[in-house]
Symmetry: C2
Subunit: 950 residues, 2 copies
């Protein structure tokens, strides 16, 4: 089957205004309740919602009339439901799908957040959901339309991903209220979104529509059990016959809506959060609505109302053959009123945001080792392991009330628990796989708490005289990575795989830096014990100056009176900037001021003043560590804010490891804590933020590219999400910050970049979560968050060469595992062996191995990505070829990004923009041979490889 | 088909504890919303409830598994639903009914209130519902079980009615908490209720069961969409698998419940208010419960759980062949805690209670005239009329949140509106019928507001120089009835049907008394203009004494200093009692005292002191009217309390017409207004109240016949409902009060009887209605209520001879209608003609014509009632025979009281009580011939008469 021109779409009437009623439910994969509580309908005292019943009821009701339609979106729920159904029900559902009466829309495991997710995890969760639909229903189950009706702002990278996945269109509900007002006026509610500056159109072009009522029905037409609108009372013998009144109201609503759209088709979303648990209420009343509204056609009415779906509506828009406006920026930040900017959630729940990011790294490792270890990975000496549990946990964690931080506290715990459980399943798989790969079946532990210097195995020196560490690097290339281990002894002999002793140093922990030369396609050294030789760096501290050097790369100075950073120098390029860094907190509005009652909350950022309070004008430098591998300065700002400044041997970045919390609230003031970097870079009003960790967008203070902004919140209205990096620059300097998780950033002053790190608030912000964002920590004292910012200073045209690999290294971190005793005694020293050589020896710098995972018994899914944007790197922003070796790969078939369609079958709808005819272009440069692929900047290519059974 | 031994009942296991799950919904025919709002699911913001969806959903779900069962109760709703269903749905439902999967229980138009309803209206509403079921489903639709799970206390007369209607058993939910505790302890939760002291057992014997959890499911097992209990989560892969925990909890609940009941069968009501709107939730979880609980039988569990119905459960109880305790009193008053007596609603909404009672009178008149006027009644010179609308309006008005006064204000208005609409339909019928009967088709008006002296026709003397009045008497015998009409002129010539002038008197209104000699079976004088000759009575008022005489029957004295009544004398029997009467108000608790937070409200009566405040210690006598027909003394107690004391010529009762309101609440005190009669009768702690207007029960202060009462509310805990009368007595004197509506009464002191007249409160009483009972009046000033108490003084053994006919005359009042001009000019003088002579000329004093209504084209339903209890009247408490004439009746078939079964087919279950074997006795004395029927005291006999077409 080709494009979305489904033969199952209902007939419309060309001479009339066609109103497409789209019955739908919006089922959060966790929010006020956990995903399983939502599925079961448990804890309805929190929120009445039970997805099992929604699907039961909808399937029942669809059978009652072939005209009725329904769309379903969240595969995480549908999957749970499907597995509990009888063969008979499955047969019925399959028929409904085949007839287009039940249509899957979006179809990912969840409806992902767009501000706080990383593209890697988004692609995974989409693939997980789409694959289930594909495996279960085939082509008729393939969603044609992306549907992000609830996320709080929209990322360009998401649109790009959807385009590459083959979606014909995209609908959403939330955009800035000023933007919406303008678009209604100019009939630009529907547009073509050109979602990449690198990919050749129409590769990342996505038709995008703004829904008229968010995702709700028009006012007065909500017939769910959760609504209180009047039902259609068409029995003239009973009270309050209201058919005429309702029909007239519907005609008015339809004409009003049509005034904001271009065609004689309009869409109405007939549903909302967890609706259709009793679908009869909706359908019974919509049946009557359709009957009575259309009955007026006989009297000359020109309104035709019908059950429809987004893809059928989209098909009509496409057939209208109009010219559509072009959109090239994104839809951040989102404000639904003058003082209601949804920019707080960019940072909300910083610990969950980190854990989600680390879990992605672990999942990629788990996936890779499942491939590399072969069948024994999932059933081996350590038992039954799997990567599915982790995939699903990551799938729900991408939800727009998960990693976004906008869920209730107990639900946040549940997401974390799921990730932990997922990892527990992966641990078994990883143990099995490493046993296969290393030949050592002795027990292996993973130290989860190294970030707070806890690892029972390495610490228990009484019991364990010897231990060994195994490092797995999921990146496609060698990286240098610092390792620090807590130990109890004071003298350790550390040897490498060759048995050669390396120097080590004991303070509170062993701190090692090692160069990973082991990678997944070259397994020669996948298990390592590495230490570099110790070298003392120049380091001085006195009343005049504090200086840190990292070899030849960086120099950092501290102000002698304040203890703050004062400058940063790139010794290679010989450039220096003034760099002052400090911590501040915005006083969160409690909602009691005259402009608006809006307080800061999980979603909303609203400082009650544009001037943040400084935590401390000076920092106390309390600890200094200087070793062969690292230099550290610890700055204490207050009992609840500190920072370690580090330079690692061989690294080009300055690491700022901040610790914030418990944020005190005894003063009755909610606090939104930022760190601000103030430099002499002439950035003016401009700064730059990434979109879902990939392409970078230019931001400008108090400005939006597509409309004349009336700025009403000078701070919150200038915040944007980052997922992995932000930068400011002028002609000479670019200061780039790479982060370990998603955060909110802004640049309020020339040369300044501020990053929000943590938030603790006293009020709910009236967007439904019903809790103030005040995360408990140990002993209920408030959460302590810790994280890292990596700073690089370069000329602008060299920045990407540093920050691209730096960010990928932050995303995919090496996995450390430990074994009692030394593996040298009873197993081969040379444990790194190449068991999978489907790829050539080393990935070129421009190429990132995005996905390597077992697809089924005989095939492996692989995604290769060009990780540079067009023009950002002199060296790397070029097409690059040659990747597959022909050795072990029996066949390679290219797929859509979502892996639910062969690339050659993709045939998306075409749309005209006013600017130029967007003709279908070749989606990628031609590959030189079947075993060689060419990647253009920012391109991701997805292949299913048939492998020789290992 | 015979008794309730339905072959469709599910199999049970004799060796196990059988748990009968009874899926049910309790659908109030109006409460927080109107009956039609409940049907439609309108105004769900008030309460989520939509009966149309309940029935849709249940029918869907029943089809999914033949084991599933459901009972439905309220025919008012089922009727609305049924008429909107397709033939296919009707076919499905009929099959479900035939297979016992859908079973009708109770089956009246509503679930009537038991404290504030009159038996006449109760029998009518039951008949209305049962007839619909019978006509629609035949024998399989006939309810076997009466089911009053919600009414707030239980009347013995209701049980008697149910027994006579052929019900095999009766279940209810609410009884005094002390009573329930005792019954649980002694396993007397199920019993045989001997519900009449007059009828021969087992005629009024009714097996009665107290449900274990009111009508709710056991705690933790409510799976409705309105509940928050945990669903059964039986997917081990999802969170919180809870099957084992739930099964164990269910077993515990079952064993705990079984400890309070006698057999190895227990019943669980699985449902509650307006539940099953999404029946899937209930059935899906109950399916799992049954599956997992019964699965344990394989491991030795002795609990067997099954879908069942009350009648199937009852059948098992009957088969157990045990001895059951006997109950002979009633279940009033109802308290659900020490300070929570539901005795306020006996009086709540006094105006609605009166309007309902008057509407009953009008409906009986309408029914009778439909029969008498023949087919032209419903389609005649004044258009289309019907009695159905009024029947249905009366049907819903009997609901336990209708005439009870416990509905929201807007719903009370709706009930009144329905009654008014019903009467509007009846008015057309009555006009048509009277046109047929009188031969006059000139316009005829009904003056609705004579009670407040408003009647535009009679008042507009400028326009209408002449008018005539037509009186229809629905009673089966002549009555004397005072008529007062507002007029504007000062001189009227009043003539009777013979054209003879009668004296009249003009004050503010014409006041006439006339002896009705026209009745429905002897139509010779159904249209009358009557006045008696004027006679001046002795009447004096001065500083010493106020005396009133009514011919030879009564003498009343007033205290010269207080203006209050001081004595009452029966001149015939020559007996005198001291009689002081005054008005008081109890200060309603606001819920702020230390024993309990319970305030007075629509349901609950809770004075905050046992001593009421007197309105005024003295009354001002302001108006005195003395005429040939009436003597009146008006007493003013305060601006909001007054009374007219009247004696009518020829009458044996003293009339007290009280006016109370607007009850002032500006002082912040809720008020419950009583009038108290204080006498020198040595009544001790005893007093007497009627049950639904029929048999009288003895009451005793601080005492219950069946358990050792711990009295916790000295006033509220001694209140009982009356529907038509109450009395106190000693050896010599009986003071009987006949009322015009249902009220609450008590006797707190020796010789005292108090009647609650009106209530105006400031707080809701936490029983769901969510409003304080504070009825608005004109200009929002609070409702003014007006009513009549009729007092008679007799020796005890002569009291019934007076109060029985007096009360029936109050219930069935003459209908007055008026025509412009005089009918004498253009129509025959002699308008009373006998057009129906199916009955003999006059009913004997003991016999009351309870029902005379058109059943279908060819037949008429008639109910004849012996209106005396056994032993209460020397003259009348005897069997009485001879009623039908053979002249026009082609056939007469006796039916059950509910008219849904031939009497000869009635075959009720038999039950053993410990006292003596209750063998089936002849249900009635043998009739001498087919055209003669014999009535025993308190017996009602129901016949369907085939009439010669008139």
């Amino acid at each position: 089957m080709g494009s979305a021109h489904s033969p199952s779409c209902p007939a419309t009437k060309p001479s009339m205004l066609n109103v497409h009623l789209v019955p739908h439910t919006h089922d959060d994969v966790g929010w006020l309740k956990t995903v399983d509580q939502y599925y079961h309908g448990d804890r309805n005292n929190i929120q009445h919602a039970g997805v099992q019943y929604i699907l039961d009821s909808v399937i029942d009701q669809l059978q009652k009339d072939p005209a009725r339609r329904f769309i379903y979106v969240e595969t995480a729920f549908f999957y749970r439901w499907w597995r509990q159904q009888s063969q008979n029900t499955r047969r019925i559902v399959t028929q409904l799908v085949n007839e287009g009466r039940l249509e899957f829309i979006n179809g990912g495991w969840c409806m992902s957040d767009e501000a706080t997710t990383h593209y890697s995890a988004v692609i995974d969760q989409m693939t997980l959901g789409l694959r289930f639909l594909n495996d279960t229903f085939g082509e008729c189950g393939r969603p044609r339309v992306a549907w992000h009706i609830d996320p709080f702002g929209h990322a360009r990278e998401h649109a790009s991903i959807f385009a590459q996945m083959g979606y014909d269109g995209f609908f959403f509900g939330r955009l800035d209220y000023q933007d919406k007002a303008r678009r209604m006026k100019t009939k630009e509610m529907e547009m073509l979104w050109r979602a990449s500056e690198s990919l050749t159109p129409p590769l990342a072009d996505l038709f995008t529509g703004v829904l008229p009522n968010g995702y709700n029905p028009p006012e007065g037409f909500c017939w769910d059990q959760s609504c209180n609108d009047a039902p259609i009372r068409d029995d003239p013998d009973l009270e309050d016959y209201n058919v005429d009144e309702i029909v007239q109201r519907f005609l008015n609503v339809s004409y009003n809506q049509a005034a904001f759209y271009k065609t004689n088709h309009i869409i109405m979303t007939m549903g909302s959060d967890f609706q259709y648990e009793n679908a009869n209420l909706w359908y019974k009343n919509m049946d009557k609505l359709i009957k009575y509204v259309n009955a007026l056609q006989a009297k000359g009415s020109k309104v035709n109302v019908l059950y429809s779906t987004p893809s059928c509506y989209l098909q009509e828009l496409n057939l209208a053959n109009l010219t559509w406006p072009l959109k090239t920026d994104d839809f951040f930040p989102y404000a639904d009123d003058a003082h209601d900017f949804w920019t707080g959630y960019f940072t909300s729940r910083p610990a969950l945001k980190l854990y989600e990011r680390l879990s992605n790294s672990r999942l990629q490792t788990c996936n890779q080792l499942e491939v590399l270890g072969g069948p024994k990975s999932t059933s081996g000496p350590f038992g039954e392991g799997d990567s599915d549990t982790m995939s699903k946990a990551m799938g729900v964690a991408q939800h727009h009330d998960a990693v976004s931080g906008t869920e209730k506290q107990h639900v946040a715990y549940d997401y974390a628990r799921r990730l932990a459980t997922g990892w527990a399943h992966c641990e078994v798989l990883v143990r099995n796989s490493l046993a296969v790969l290393s030949g050592s079946e002795s027990p292996r532990v993973f130290c989860e708490n190294l970030n707070i210097s806890v690892c029972p195995l390495t610490e228990s020196s009484q019991k364990v005289l010897y231990f060994s560490m195994n490092v797995y690097n999921p990146l496609g290339r060698t990286v240098s990575w610092p390792v620090r281990l807590p130990v109890n002894g004071s003298l350790y002999s550390v040897t490498d795989t060759k048995g050669k002793t390396v120097d080590s140093q004991v303070g509170n922990y062993v701190c090692m830096s090692f160069k990973l030369i082991c990678n997944i396609y070259d397994m020669k050294s996948s298990s390592l014990l590495l230490l570099l030789s110790v070298r003392w760096f120049h380091f001085s501290i006195n009343n005049k100056s504090v200086l840190m050097y990292a070899f030849k790369f960086l120099k950092v100075t501290f102000d002698d009176t304040t203890g703050l950073l004062s400058s940063l120098t790139n010794l290679e390029t010989n450039q220096t900037i003034r760099l002052t860094q400090n911590f501040y907190w915005y006083n969160a509005s409690s909602g009691n001021n005259k402009e608006s009652r809006q307080p800061s909350g999980a979603y909303i950022f609203r400082p009650n003043s544009s001037d943040p309070f400084v935590i401390n004008k000076t920092a106390e430098i309390q600890i200094v560590t200087v070793s062969s591998t690292v230099q550290e300065v610890t700055q204490w700002f207050s009992p609840w804010v500190s920072q370690v400044v580090r330079l690692y041997e061989g690294h080009r970045e300055l690491e700022l490891e901040w610790t914030v919390g418990p944020v005190p609230i005894a003063d009755g003031l909610g606090k939104e804590v930022i760190t601000r970097l103030d430099t002499d870079i002439e950035s003016s009003d401009y700064f730059y933020t990434d979109s879902n960790g990939r392409e970078v967008l230019e931001r400008r203070k108090d400005y939006r590219p597509t409309w004349d902004l009336k700025q009403t919140e000078p701070i919150a209205g200038n915040y944007y999400p980052i997922n992995s990096r932000a930068y400011i620059k002028d002609d000479k300097h670019q200061l780039t910050v790479v982060t370990d998780r998603s955060q909110g950033v802004s640049s309020i002053y020339n040369g300044s970049l501020e990053i929000m790190l943590h938030r603790r608030l006293l009020y709910d912000d009236f967007r439904g979560v019903g809790e103030p964002l005040s995360e408990p920590g140990e002993f209920f004292d408030g959460l302590v968050a810790r994280g890292r910012l990596l700073l690089t200073l370069t000329p602008p045209n060299m920045a990407a060469d540093v920050h691209r690999p730096l960010a990928q290294g932050m995303v995919l971190q090496p996995l450390l595992s430990f074994q009692d005793g030394t593996p040298l005694a009873n197993t081969k020293l040379e444990v790194c062996r190449g068991s999978f050589s489907g790829l050539q020896d080393a990935l070129p710098p421009a190429v990132h191995l995005l996905t390597l995972s077992q697809w089924d018994k005989d095939s492996v899914l692989i995604r290769l990505e060009h990780q540079y944007q067009a023009k950002e790197s002199k060296t790397h922003s070029q097409p690059i070829t040659k990747l597959f070796s022909t050795l072990e790969v029996l066949g390679a078939s290219e797929m859509s990004l979502g892996a639910n369609q062969w690339k050659e079958d993709m045939n998306r709808l075409q749309w005209n923009t006013g600017t130029k005819a967007s003709k279908p272009l070749p989606l990628s440069a031609k590959d030189p041979s079947p075993w060689e692929v060419t990647l253009n900047p920012m391109e991701i290519r997805t292949f299913l490889l048939q492998l020789r059974q290992l």
